[in-house]
């Protein structure tokens, strides 16, 4: 099976995750306009990658596992992306049909 990461690695990842939690908390108090949500999501994404790659040990796992882990997010993007193909273009319509 796979190589076993050291306790030290796990603790470093944990520390990073905790720090990022506080970073995301404090960044939210700073006015960045539309960037607030972008930064929040980027941090969340970064944290997620840490959990997936190290805690779930996907980094050392087979390409198949990576493929399946990636497929989930790909499909999530399909779902969201296609919702927004509708919602973002509704206002382009000549009649104001949005309420």
């Amino acid at each position: 099976m796979h190589s076993i990461p050291s306790v030290r690695t796990y603790v470093i990842i944990w520390a990073t995750l905790t720090v990022m939690t506080f970073v995301t908390y404090y960044v939210a108090q700073i006015e960045l306009g539309a960037w607030n949500i972008v930064v929040a999501l980027l941090i969340a994404f970064f944290k997620m990658m840490l959990v997936i790659l190290f805690f779930m040990n996907v980094k050392a796992d087979s390409p198949l596992t990576k493929l399946f882990a990636g497929a989930g997010f790909f499909w999530l993007i399909l779902l969201l992306g296609q919702f927004f193909i509708d919602y973002l273009t509704r206002t382009w319509m000549p009649e104001g049909t949005m309420w």
Partner: protein
């Protein structure tokens, strides 16, 4: 394929089963069984991603539609609770990862210790969540039961804010449900560990439950900024 059977593998089944009492009959060896189980859990997590994904999708649509109403209702959430819970879950993920590590190395006592710690942090999460729900109830911010709802501080958002609160309760509720299931898994694994079921050659249930636990953690990592940290710089209520 007609003649493919002409060569036949002399199957050494008795040897395999002799190796481990945990090998099920339809698998060839432990590696195949372990790989199948972990792949199975990943496929299950794929399903879970889409399950929460449906809610995240609907949430995103409404948030884009009513950004201010969403921001206003976020101000009724206590981000300290959210941050605390995030921290608690991250610690539990650490202990879970260490439990899996211990199982792999065959350190039985360490495994049991970390499983207990994981359960304690998991419970702590639910307790904090419970306090939070209680506050919303007292605050009249629960549109779910047709009663406890009062949004007179910001009447312009009164109707649409219900949508965010609905999502808040559905998403955190389903997440809490997953935590409860996770705690059930942990209890089972702990009992198995106490009976000495696991060894460096058989720790599949620990590994698989660990994957599930980390996934539930990841969901919360996204819920935290999406529910608690909208428009915190503005005064909307």
């Amino acid at each position: 394929m007609a003649d493919t059977h002409s060569t036949v593998a002399e199957h050494s089944e008795p040897d395999h089963t002799a190796h481990s009492p945990h090998l099920r009959h339809h698998f060839d060896d432990m590696a195949q069984q372990f790989d199948s189980a972990t792949l199975g859990m990943w496929v299950f997590l794929l399903t879970e991603i889409m399950f929460f994904g449906g809610m995240f999708g609907a949430y995103t649509v409404y948030r884009a539609m009513y950004p201010e109403a969403f921001a206003s209702s976020s101000q009724y959430m206590n981000p300290l609770y959210g941050a605390m819970n995030t921290a608690v879950l991250i610690v539990s993920s650490l202990t879970m990862a260490l439990a899996v590590r211990a199982a792999r190395l065959g350190e039985q006592k360490v495994l049991q210790l970390f499983l207990i710690l994981t359960m304690i942090f998991g419970l702590a999460f639910l307790v904090i969540k419970g306090f939070e729900y209680h506050e919303h109830w007292v605050d009249n911010k629960v549109p779910l039961f047709g009663g406890h709802w009062d949004y007179s501080e910001a009447p312009q958002f009164a109707r649409q804010a219900q949508i965010l609160f609905c999502f808040y309760f559905f998403m955190t509720g389903f997440h809490a449900l997953h935590m409860v299931v996770g705690l059930g898994l942990m209890t089972t694994i702990f009992m198995m560990a106490r009976r000495g079921t696991f060894s460096p050659s058989y720790f599949t249930p620990v590994e698989v439950s660990g994957l599930y636990w980390h996934f539930v953690d990841i969901v919360w990592i996204f819920l935290f900024p999406l529910l608690y940290l909208i428009g915190r710089t503005k005064k909307l209520i």
